[in-house]
Symmetry: C2
Subunit: 675 residues, 2 copies
Amino acid sequence: MCLMNRWGREGHMPVLISPVVPERPTVSLVCSDPDFEHEDLNFLSRSERYEAAVKKSAQMILKMREYGVSDPEEIYCYKSSVHRGRSEPLDLHLGMFLPTLLNQATPEQQERFLMPAWNLEIIGTYAQTEIGHGTHLRGLETTATYDPATQEFVLNSPTVTSIKWWPGGLGKTANHAVVLAQLHTQGKCRGLHAFIVPIRSTSSHKPLPGVEVGDIGPKFGFDEVDNGYLKFANVRVPRGNMLMKYAQVEPDGTYQKAPSDKLTYGTMVFIRSMIVGDSARALSKASTIAIRYSAVRHQSELRPGEAEPQILDYQTQQQKLFPLLATAYAFQFVGQYMTQTYHRITGDINQGDYTELPELHALAAGLKAFTTWAANAGIEECRMACGGHGYSRCSSLPDIYVNFTPSCTYEGENTVMMLQTARWEGGMFSCHSPPPPGPEGILEQVYVVWRAFETRVEAIWSMASSVLADWTCLFLVCHHHQRTSHFVLLCSSLVALAAKNLQAQLQKGKRQEDAWNSTAVDLVRASDAHCHYVVVKLFSSKLEEVQDSEVHSVLATLALLYALHGISQRSGDFLQAGLLSVSQLPRVSQKLKELLARVRPNAVALVDAFDYRDEMLNSVLGRYDGNVYENMFEWARKSPLNRTEVSEQGPRKPDTLRLYTEGPRFKPHLLPSCL
Amino acid sequence: MCLMNRWGREGHMPVLISPVVPERPTVSLVCSDPDFEHEDLNFLSRSERYEAAVKKSAQMILKMREYGVSDPEEIYCYKSSVHRGRSEPLDLHLGMFLPTLLNQATPEQQERFLMPAWNLEIIGTYAQTEIGHGTHLRGLETTATYDPATQEFVLNSPTVTSIKWWPGGLGKTANHAVVLAQLHTQGKCRGLHAFIVPIRSTSSHKPLPGVEVGDIGPKFGFDEVDNGYLKFANVRVPRGNMLMKYAQVEPDGTYQKAPSDKLTYGTMVFIRSMIVGDSARALSKASTIAIRYSAVRHQSELRPGEAEPQILDYQTQQQKLFPLLATAYAFQFVGQYMTQTYHRITGDINQGDYTELPELHALAAGLKAFTTWAANAGIEECRMACGGHGYSRCSSLPDIYVNFTPSCTYEGENTVMMLQTARWEGGMFSCHSPPPPGPEGILEQVYVVWRAFETRVEAIWSMASSVLADWTCLFLVCHHHQRTSHFVLLCSSLVALAAKNLQAQLQKGKRQEDAWNSTAVDLVRASDAHCHYVVVKLFSSKLEEVQDSEVHSVLATLALLYALHGISQRSGDFLQAGLLSVSQLPRVSQKLKELLARVRPNAVALVDAFDYRDEMLNSVLGRYDGNVYENMFEWARKSPLNRTEVSEQGPRKPDTLRLYTEGPRFKPHLLPSCL
């Protein structure tokens, strides 16, 4: 049964697709290591999960030393294999504290902190967000006031809203934190700077005087992570604990500004690029589980009297899952592109050339939001497409969701990110320099956005023509080419309309900022269109690298599905922009349905190519061998509630039994007529 | 600060809106009862949550007896107050087991089972779903074979896929189950019937011989409920344990068919109507939390140098939350309508008149799916609109989501429900009688769907004209009236297209069922349009009942927001159907933005009118007094991880400490160049 399921349909041999992201040797190293075996985390309490994670992280550090794992990507892979892709208490130590030391500490500071940190004598975290302040960094309230008498900084949390909140590892694990605080020296506030602050004793691990620190309590997910709070009351650190590679405070309190404010862009861009990769991984895991299970699950009747079909044969199920499969592929390629581009540009940055940074920064912001939103909704769509069993923790889908969903918020809230991209696109408004209010300027800038919108469609059409020679696509493409000039005209009219709206707001006496706020919804929509275009383009270019003609054909189908599905999702926008005509819409729908049918036979092979081994997926529904039901039963039997035949506090135990049998009885006439 | 927040904007006095669903006296009875005080459930393990729920349910039954609570709606309200809206181990006993006895047991059976069940000597559940079978009831595999020699039914689970799976209360709580099984008698299978099966000893509570029963393990939510599995090996029950009010098996095994197969419709319709109400409650809770918190939270800058504004002032935040607020109101009214209609029709059903049942059945199916999908996505939108703090369990939003989301799956998987509505709409296909294949029949039926689509728009336009006298709406309405005939023409052309697609499939040699499957996506879309129309219509009729002109104006704004937002979400469909023109689209967007601004000053008053007291919301972010941050800090301090200053297994405890300090150290040259 299972092999037949794997091959999609009886008698059909799917295209053999080699792994998109081949498994690294590290994964099998970790999976075969008995030190990393663990009980099912779903059966543990949150405290137990935290403790298990700390133990594993300690083991992990030891082993990485032993094996000499030092390449950043290998470290990431090892860490992610040990923790099965989950976040863990040392995440911020490895991912933020150490890199911040490397990038922002002076050589002297590196000497003092880096090796102890690498050897875990210092365990650090990165304390930026406050309970009342998130994305808007200038709003942070924590203060670091320089006292030249003792050459110390005095850290304070002046208000409830200034309490540091959320940093991972802060609650129980870390003994040091890089703290972002408003620097005050010589009576002036110099803005945010980073300070290394010891928060717990390196011997007893107890909080140091003036430091109030703890765990922020249970969350939707991230059970393994002790996200924490941190409150300062006159905590003093030596002058040498401010990270001084760029900005400096001299012994007398004189402040030296950093040479460029773009320096922190690099880290942000890097992290956001990584998050794009996370989106791809999370969505590819979820779609692997949902598609394999949909090939195992049989349900209802398509034809009376015949056996129940695999639910993957239902068009509605295909419509839920295949566009997500296509999206998972698309995001894999976008993630690869972002990382490559980051590495390419990093070289330039190190040479002091920041030319490409603003564009990459804007793109990373938009794509971070675009991919996390899509993956976030997609994971839940996958879960619900698995019916009731998707709701069981044994599916792993709840776990994937709750651990992924914060990425829509952290490292830049998604809506704010979209507006950032829009700002760059238009170049209209920046934090520091409001734009010229003239209508021509605005028109020109908004036009840029709509140009991006237009080129997106061109990319889709050209792909459609190269892949599919049938009448629908030809029709669409021809129709397009005949109307190029109309496109431009229509775009211009839309741009004029948007500009007119803005102008109208300004003429009513609205301030520019308010006028901007009043068009925010449209700007987000424009950024979304821009990101969709970039993803389609990257998917399309990736196709050119594929040599095998059968694989090329399968991936091209996916790419077209991704593009056309995006059009159908935004069909109103496309019609409004004049890039589609109403008469073409039914053809788009029809083509989409044809593509679903074409993906069907290779769907399982396509998720197999993501190459997740069972230990990494950790999903009973997504098992490679398809033996779902037997293993679900086995898993359930191990559930904590089944450790005793009769529950400790349940019915028929003295306490509750008495309540049941000794209470006053209802008289029959009081029985509800209809419950 | 807080009062000002409540009033929306400084200096603005919002409209006073009386509670939409006024709190019942029962709620304050429960909330002031010290027996129902409890520790924060977020701090407990799953086993502890189950045990706490069992204790509370036992208390609850006692108190309901004591106070003589017997009205069904009072019982529901009491239960829901005790468990704060969460599901609990006795849900299926009260909501399915007892009603099934009332509706399907003979008077003799009622005498044997009903009073013991009401007095909790018998604790029951309803075992229908199997591990391999859900929505498609005919696929269930559990067998009940009649043995005339002993006058017993022999129950068996012949396969792994036939194991009963999911019933609430089955895992640890229940000692009896109503079991749905395929009845075999005199060598023939007679289809599904219900049997009362004892599964645990009423004295020791241990599983009876031949019964394997247990908890199915942790889930996304429903931590308080012991959803269970149940496997039979030759379990015998007396003939009198088959529920025989309708169908019967005589002592010799002769089978008497039930007079109508529509009898079970009633319960399904009732439950689905209740779920529509659940959608309204869940979404109104989530939007209360998100909107209140958005009035408390200040973030970023709108105008340089000015104080950070309430995030509710951002257009993007309004666009996320206000359509959901409008939806929550709309669903409240739909829920009320469904319950009223059900009660009205129930009278007819009891008289043997089933005329209106099929329509209500179809409508309940569609609206169950439509409202649960919308509420499900809406709750998550609310959570994410609260930024990071929405992710904390103290917001209550994760809890609302995980406890609500199963309603998209249970009592009829949503996509299947939508197709059921489409089946009724078209009357084309039914389970038992495939439709006539002629193109006229199909055309006519599909046309019904599109008529519904059209009338939806008419309802919106008429509302727009009655509420808003400004040029946009007038334009839209006039434009509409001029084009009525065009609407019909365009509808017809769409119908013709759909019919043509179906015909084309049939002519290619596809079977009818396959052709149906190939248009399933379009049919779901049609059902969605139909449901949207019904909701708009009911909201619109509700307005007529509102006397106070100020309140009428506020609610009319919400209704129009709901309607127009629905149009903008489906603008492609509307354009394709010719019910909107491309040139009207920018006006719809503009009108939507105006409506957001108009809702803003009354937003907090509108959620206050849902009338949830803090104990019921149980959300630090959604507190009535707005003192979010202080209480968040207090809540976090009580978190289990903070019970000790230094974690038991964390860093600096002997075990892990040794790993950190005694392991081999890294050599500096192995330090990653870029982490």
